[in-house]
Amino acid sequence: MSSPLDTFLRPVHQWVWGDFDRRVRKLLAFAEVETDGGRDILRASELTPDPLLRRLYLEHAIDELHHGVLFRERGAALLRVRASRSAPLFTGNPLPGGHGLDDLRIEGEPDHRLLAFLHVAEKSAAGRFEIYRRLVDDDPATRAIFEQILRDEVFHMNYTYTQLARVSPKSYRWQIWRARGSRLWKRYLRIAAALGDVIGTAMIALVYFVVLPPFAWAAKRAHRVEGEGWKPARTGARDSAASQY
């Protein structure tokens, strides 16, 4: 079930799961991702006009939220046995969006597109979890979680496909290809945005060190002469209602 890319990336996965701290970090990141994904699907259940899909989405969301709990509990259990707590292990969520690298938007998304997206995302997740399951052989508790989640993901993959064929009988294959294309496009956008972010950061950092020092000197000097404690209120004293200053 694993994709060629995942097979190719197997050494990277091995590197991630072979280290205790990285394993904990990954489990906690998965907890966030599964929980966010569950909330997205929950939202879909509240918005869809299709009664059957409403019920299926709700059950699916319950599963995803439960996966989040499983990952969180396992991560927390491993965290408890981690000896050193000197540095923060994890801050923020490294995988934005409810489905990791996929940025899912529920509002305004028709069911056929959402089902196609979910099918492709679940299939991809199932392939990856299959690899992870094999990589945590030394950790039966974590392995058991992956086994349970894998079973669920396979069912999610199947039901989304069946329902897609129901709601969009003429174009369901096209919808799946479209979802795959959309995933690729979003990945490209994400990489491009990350690259742009790095370039932007470098340029601003350059400005910071080259242009700002005299202004920083002036700002520090002004701050030194400013007294501490209460100041006369500027709040409510500005003249213009139209000014942002």
């Binding site: 929950l42 408890r80 501490e228 404690g229 100041k231 409510g236 209602a241 139209a242």
Partner: protein, 595 residues
């Protein structure tokens, strides 16, 4: 005159519509988008407000943003310059963050809503807080105190307001500026204790009751009183200006010990857990002392009997109760949404009264300005899922719900328009019997999925509130929107165990019949069944999610947790009894009968 107020881009975005001087509707964006503390531009909230009032954007006379975004940018830039070169890591992020959208607010509003730029106005952040607190309160003259993390530059302001037939006047006298901030001090501890900043502050308050303020000396190293009665934070202990990840510095960690990891369970029986509780108790005590002193001075300088308190710090009910008891003010008014969401309403009211000079209007004294819950929508969904559904008239419904509560059932209660603000005040509540600590544990474990140290709040009719709770003069008013924490009378603590916190207090809601008649009648019906007309009242959501808005959102929450009975309008849904929790059975088997 039709004025739309907007708050956005930092946390808890919201929109509020004021027509002819009165609020018509107000809602937080999170209630529409279902993303907790949604900070995005509140397009969903704006759309709903305009739809609700049957207005088009062209019909608006003004759109008011709750703060001056370029002034805020000025603060961010100046702070980075002051911290040069230590701010090199946070500077690019702050600049990208601000230049990405936040400083172009006028253009964003204009393009998103299609209103001309000339109609877009701005207020000062703390003026919005002040207006939200003062102009919605039933008082004509009052001292005004606002305190939060930071607005543009101000973090705390004092002043006073007057409402007369000739017009409204809000005057600010003094302010304390960034980086000296009570809100940021508390938020640094929130982060240190492993909770999410701008969301977990009330957990720190709840945790404080389990600790002893043994670290006041250490906290006082972080915050020093100035000779004029203000305070300054020691920048060595904070990283507001340099680090992007968290707001406390390595020196802070040296002083208080290792921080708590956000995923680490908080074990209050352990030495480490007790240290965290003591930290919380210490910063809570210092915050209270500071606020009481500032409020006392404000009372002395204004000589007014009423105080209107706004800003995120006003969500601290323990501090509010001490202000009421010790500052000399006879009444303390805290709005239902004192935080940034409430600024949307505050900005619109401020513009109406102060910019346009419109006459003062008495604002209805309730928090119910959001979208309604539709019982028919609930009935339809529940029938599709084969859950028992009934439609009952009011007396039968109240009797049914009261008897179910008396039998220990947990009820999801949705009625009318949802609350504006972070608290469930009777229209989107989970209700339960308040008598047993097992109910509290069940709610935390099976329904809210949250930490076991978190307390639950009671709701009680005003006329009997003093029988159960030790309310000082003015306490009932402060408790109207659940803004004060007061002692449960010792003789009632065993019968109110689920709502009595470990220190014998409760964040009680004192309910007037006029504010929420159906809940008031339910309390009376429950009193007839059990002899105690008090219910446990907690927000209708599970951990990490916003309070439900529509009936269908209530229904999906009901399906996922241990709520036994769900009520929306006249519709009552009972959960089918199952022997196992949904996740104990694979989805394949759960859905096999109907796919």
């Amino acid at each position: 005159m039709k004025i739309l107020g907007i708050s956005a881009h930092y946390h808890d975005s919201a929109a509020a519509l004021v027509v002819d001087g009165l609020p018509v509707c107000a809602v937080q964006e999170e209630r529409m988008s279902r993303r907790k503390n949604d900070a995005g531009f509140p397009l969903g909230a704006i759309d709903w407000c305009l739809d609700h009032a049957k207005l088009e954007p062209d019909d608006l006379d003004a759109v008011v943003f709750y703060e001056r975004s370029m002034l805020k940018f000025d603060r961010i830039l100046t702070s980075a310059l002051r911290a040069f070169p230590r701010s090199w890591r946070s500077f690019p992020r702050a600049i990208k963050n601000s230049l990405g959208e936040k400083v172009w607010v006028k253009g964003v509003i204009s393009s998103q809503m299609g209103v001309p730029r000339s109609k877009i106005l701005f207020t000062d952040h703390h003026a919005s807080h002040a207006a939200a607190a003062f102009l919605t309160a039933p008082t004509r003259r009052a001292a005004i105190l606002t305190a939060d993390g930071v607005g543009e530059w101000a973090t705390l302001t004092t002043g006073h307001g007057t409402r007369t037939d000739d017009g409204t006047d809000i005057r600010f006298e003094r302010e304390i500026r960034f980086p000296d901030s009570l809100g940021l001090l508390y938020s640094a501890f929130t982060a240190y204790l492993g909770f999410t900043v701008n969301e977990g502050e009330y957990k720190v308050m709840g945790l404080a009751a389990y600790g002893r303020p043994t670290m006041i000396g250490q906290v006082n190293k972080l915050i020093r009183r100035t000779s004029d009665g203000a305070f300054v934070l020691d920048p060595e202990y904070f990283d507001f200006q340099t680090a992007a990840e968290h707001s406390y510095s390595p020196k802070f960690v040296e002083l208080f010990g290792p921080p708590r990891h956000r995923y680490e369970p908080l074990d209050l029986e352990s030495k480490e857990g007790q240290r965290f509780a003591d930290c919380a108790a210490s910063v809570q005590r210092v915050l209270e002392d500071m606020l009481v002193d500032i409020a006392r001075e404000l009372h002395r300088s204004t000589g007014l009997p009423d105080l209107c308190f706004g800003g995120g710090v006003a969500l601290n009910g323990v501090a509010n109760a001490r202000i009421l008891a010790e500052s000399g003010f006879e009444r303390v008014f805290v709005p239902s949404a004192p935080g940034d969401a409430g600024c949307a309403l505050g900005a619109a009211l401020y513009a109406d009264r102060m910019y346009f000079g419109n006459p003062d209007r008495e604002i209805p004294d309730h928090p119910f300005w959001g979208p309604p819950a539709d019982g028919d929508e609930l009935a339809r969904a529940a029938r599709e899922d084969n859950h028992p559904v009934e439609s009952l008239d009011a007396p039968a419904l109240l009797d049914r719900v009261a008897s179910q509560l008396a039998e220990g059932r947990i009820v999801g209660w949705m009625e009318g328009a949802c609350e504006f603000g972070p608290r469930a005040l009777g229209h989107r509540s989970i209700l339960a019997a308040p008598h047993s600590s097992e109910t509290r544990d069940r709610l935390n474990r099976d329904i809210k999925f949250r930490e076991e140290f978190r307390p639950f709040a009671p709701v009680v009719p005003r006329d009997v509130a003093s029988r159960y709770f030790d309310l000082p003069p003015g306490g009932a008013r402060l408790a109207r929107f659940m803004s004060g924490v007061f002692p449960v009378r010792p003789e009632w603590r065993p019968q109110l165990a689920a709502v009595t916190h470990v220190d014998g207090t409760a964040r009680v809601q004192v309910l007037d019949r006029d504010m929420a008649p159906a809940l008031h009648a339910l309390l009376e019906a429950y009193g007839r069944h059990t002899g105690i007309p008090v219910l446990l009242n907690t927000s209708f959501n599970v951990a990490g999610e916003p309070i439900v808005t529509r009936a269908l959102e209530g229904y999906s929450t009901f399906r996922r947790c241990g709520i036994d009975l769900l009520v929306a309008g006249s519709t009552v849904v009972r959960k089918r009894t199952t022997s196992a929790s949904p996740t104990a059975i694979p989805m394949q088997e759960r859905v096999a009968s109907w796919v």
